[in-house]
Symmetry: D2
Amino acid sequence: MTLEVGVLGYRFMGNAHANAMARLPMFFPDAPAIERSVLVGRDETALSEAADRFGFSSTATDWADVVDEVDVFYNLGPNHVHAEPSIAALEAGTPVFCEKPLAPTLERAESMADAAREAGEDVPAGCAFNYRFVPAIQYAKELLEAGELGEIRHVRGRYLQDWLVDPDAPWSWRNDEELAGSGALGDLGSHTVDLLRFLVGSDDLAGEIERVSGQLQTFVDERPVPGEEEETRPVTVDDAYTGQLEFASGATGVLEGTRVAAGHKNDHTVEIHGSEGSLRFSLERLNELEILRDDENRGYETVLITDEDDPYVDHWWPPGHVLGWEHTFVHENYEFLRAVAEGNRFEPSFEDGLAAQRVLDAVERSDERGEWITLE
Amino acid sequence: MTLEVGVLGYRFMGNAHANAMARLPMFFPDAPAIERSVLVGRDETALSEAADRFGFSSTATDWADVVDEVDVFYNLGPNHVHAEPSIAALEAGTPVFCEKPLAPTLERAESMADAAREAGEDVPAGCAFNYRFVPAIQYAKELLEAGELGEIRHVRGRYLQDWLVDPDAPWSWRNDEELAGSGALGDLGSHTVDLLRFLVGSDDLAGEIERVSGQLQTFVDERPVPGEEEETRPVTVDDAYTGQLEFASGATGVLEGTRVAAGHKNDHTVEIHGSEGSLRFSLERLNELEILRDDENRGYETVLITDEDDPYVDHWWPPGHVLGWEHTFVHENYEFLRAVAEGNRFEPSFEDGLAAQRVLDAVERSDERGEWITLE
Amino acid sequence: MTLEVGVLGYRFMGNAHANAMARLPMFFPDAPAIERSVLVGRDETALSEAADRFGFSSTATDWADVVDEVDVFYNLGPNHVHAEPSIAALEAGTPVFCEKPLAPTLERAESMADAAREAGEDVPAGCAFNYRFVPAIQYAKELLEAGELGEIRHVRGRYLQDWLVDPDAPWSWRNDEELAGSGALGDLGSHTVDLLRFLVGSDDLAGEIERVSGQLQTFVDERPVPGEEEETRPVTVDDAYTGQLEFASGATGVLEGTRVAAGHKNDHTVEIHGSEGSLRFSLERLNELEILRDDENRGYETVLITDEDDPYVDHWWPPGHVLGWEHTFVHENYEFLRAVAEGNRFEPSFEDGLAAQRVLDAVERSDERGEWITLE
Amino acid sequence: MTLEVGVLGYRFMGNAHANAMARLPMFFPDAPAIERSVLVGRDETALSEAADRFGFSSTATDWADVVDEVDVFYNLGPNHVHAEPSIAALEAGTPVFCEKPLAPTLERAESMADAAREAGEDVPAGCAFNYRFVPAIQYAKELLEAGELGEIRHVRGRYLQDWLVDPDAPWSWRNDEELAGSGALGDLGSHTVDLLRFLVGSDDLAGEIERVSGQLQTFVDERPVPGEEEETRPVTVDDAYTGQLEFASGATGVLEGTRVAAGHKNDHTVEIHGSEGSLRFSLERLNELEILRDDENRGYETVLITDEDDPYVDHWWPPGHVLGWEHTFVHENYEFLRAVAEGNRFEPSFEDGLAAQRVLDAVERSDERGEWITLE
């Protein structure tokens, strides 16, 4: 059986997922057969050009016509378009893969998670936190789950970008609260929170995040509208946020996300200290993991996670032939599509998307109220 | 005229300052002439041995006999001994150089700063934040003051150590609230806060820290008493703290200090992002500064701050012949003793020590009250 | 017009090129249309499985049936199979893309270059030195050609692997002189020499390599035959080589290649010092280039070569979304196929393959004769 | 008994050794008592100023008056002044500590080694290769001697400086063959060869260097005389050299030394690959050692060699409080003076100085003759 896939969104994320789908047969021959069936968007010309390039057999301008016609629905549109089509698809019993953050508001994220719950376990609803699928992160997870770092003491997650350092960088939907929900907080923070939850969130490790403090900051209040001379629009989201965490286990943490860190392009860093060791990872060197195991190491080992028995690596190239950012999409598509074909639960799920959003929402409330916020 | 120096404390800090004094004539020949006159402590045997080794001409067991007899008084004892002798010295008109943190409580730090204020500007009262005197930090300060990084957006300070990772690491006065005031917060955090204030605290840059949130955590509640079998004592201070900052300018920041970060010996890191560039510094590579200037750089430059025209370097060795941790003490002693000889104000002063303490006290209150704390 | 492509070899290199071809339409839409037409090999079962997976429409077991039937011929077999089919293809007027090193012996490489010369400029004969097509290397080339590093003084090229550190690592054709020509020298050294020639070999920079000294070493004399218990076969090639170079300009250099450098998986490093700056590159961090320009920098900048206007990057992802090893194959296939479609010369050509081989042959002769060897 | 020390030379090396002597009592209280007795030089004013600053009780302008009057003689003058005074001292039975390289020519180095041999084992004749006394190097030596890296396969030593990159950098005695013997080769290469011999030269490891190939290059033929307008003097030594090595065990190596490597101040790097692990060290990060042990590590550990039980560290500061370049002089003075006091052999000896010189001489002959040179 070939799964017919419908995809909403044909820009950056559309491209990343279409590429991932296209690469499965050569590198993951046991992945379910799929057809890139229908690409959904509003601008017909651009859509048609994209469908051609991404290898889709048809296009549609109304997602409502698609969500119950396909075997799988990918929601890769801007944040404010996540909820309605995803819920409709789930109500039609169609598995959904939705980009992160799950929704611009906690309320809508909750509706989406509700819809997923009602659709049932055999209708996977995945939230596309692709960084879980970096081989080095999977390897780190294995070390952590095996107890190699002992009890978790501290985590540190930061996601630094610089594309808004320049006050004249153009306005986009990502600067608008209505469309995006929040700025660095949702866009970057959702990745960081999910990664930390994935790595240390199990009950045997740090458990869930229980208490949060945070702040948001906007440094540039308005930005020029692209193509429209001398017009500006207000920036209604944060350029940057910081946060502090306490986990159920008592482990503590700090968070940062910013679009104004000069010199950092896509620097997503996670660092973990346990009672028996430490780990460091940076997305800009995604093939590497820095590992310190107290009983064996005096300093961090810089390990290239590209050996044949490292996660997913046997599908690719020999040791030392490094992978790129896009490979994370191949891995998550492989896992998600297998879950669809087998009617299994997939993680990160809408629940995980919601859990991340709860933390970020608490960061925002902490900033507003000047209080530490305890999560339920 | 030769300045007679009295020093209270003959362990780690006593050694570091005695060494610094001993090295001035060869490398800083324009430093004031001094005599290592009297070393103060309680254990006469150890004291006498130390006086011999450190080159002191006499010893005393009561600081009260010393503070008004010498030209300069160094207070290098544990935190709980900082206030009384320092105040007595200042009341006697004797300049004081006191180790950090200024005092175990904010109240006592305020008394010390009061005493310094009353003693007047020509009686220097210095707080020995030696990391201001790393050449790379002085160089960073020059860049920042010259506006090379533009407006400050974010700061990040963390001080990671690992000597308490092991639950069986022995108890010491540093684990006791009465004697130390706090744990990582005061010991490590005071350095970090001072360094950030030094680098970006001027009104042209980020200004003072205005708002703070924080948390403290103790992971190991009791520790074995050294030499006394099977006895333990309670740990009444924090093993680690985290904090968030907002500066007067709106710049934001995060802080961390911990004694349980496996693999980090003395890793004091400061990172700064401005609208036109970024900086990174780590104490474990103290000869290096990482610099990014937006208009010249695409990535950080790793610069060895050992050129002849770099701060203090002309006193030492040719380019690339790296300095060590102890050299910071030579620099601060040089500056402090010059201030004493000339009756000038010295910075970091007791006011700076107090300012750092106010921030740390706010971190502690934030942890207790579950609120963001606004500093007056 | 669609170019029909025939490919000899279906293992590691077959996979890398098939993947590259498959990715062109989505990312390089202006690349010539191609059909993965026929895959050539000897083991019919394996071949057929590979053809399926790599997307070839047919298979053949005799290259002689293929070379004059297709529009382009890729020779991706072991070194000893490079000469005959490539020459036959060129004699038939079929453009050839051949993996490196060009041939196991200098003599055969010369025949291949002769055949390419006779086929004429409009029949491209490319030697697949893929590392020329790393964006960071292309960027380095631009800097060098623009004179940003001044006169070249030194180069340093080393290629470190560790897969033969273990004396029990199995024997393969790569350990056999007959089949491979040489060991680390040809396999790794050909990449290094080509990269150095590409970067500094133009007459305005260092010019050609004029004088060479070298040594070869085999540390493990025999290795176990895979699957055949207790049988071993002799290792008749080098495990490692070193070399020294002098260029026409007087610039000097050192070379190293080894399969027994514990801890290095695929560490191909090139470093260049000029009168006005320096560069460093390592394949294990292939998105990065370290750049020092004397008039602007005091230390190396670590630059992520992933900006939109960096070579090839606009075809892929936003800044900081790093590429992998395989992307170099997409770039070289794009360039090669365009040259084929337009009947243009392609570089690296068989001439370049031959030039690299001449240097390596001189390294080998230097080792044998105990002399520096001057190249003609 | 207090050893009276006479020192020839009062510039860079004079300062480094005087400082080391001054620091012994505080940090190495078991070092022999010494008096900085007489400082020897030609320029009486400068000499007298230096004697004051370095703490010498007297001065002399003729070394001949000194060598038999003191208990120890330090020869810290330029290379061409090494032989005669050192030999005279040894003939007078006075222990000698001589800076490296031992002499400007192999012949003179041989005379010096002869004199040392004739003086007998209880008259230590040390060659001041201070880098042997970096704690990280001593630690590396321990690992190697314990067999932790297995059989040595490759070594790589390079010493990169940039102070002659600028063609207008002034002429000095270091550019003159008569005064210096050679350029980068002797000045930098002697350090590198000694360090490699120290680390892997024992018979259980790689053994002695047996075969050498090399080249020397001068990029700037004349340089301006400081202070004398528009006058230049010829550069008669090398700006840079390269070499290849084969050791008795069959291990191979490459060498480089240069004064024209833009961006490198004092970058002395040693890397070693064995059958069971690898090591890396760089002088610009002299507190760190990168270690890979095949059976424990997948990647290099970056270890701070500053723990209490690391070589020499217990004499200094707590873990992570890094040492500087000058500390190596304290360690070597401690060891040398102990050898003097106890009438013991000291290493590195004049024999070691001679052995390094033989290798460098062979590098030079290889360059002249165009041959590999076998050492006797």
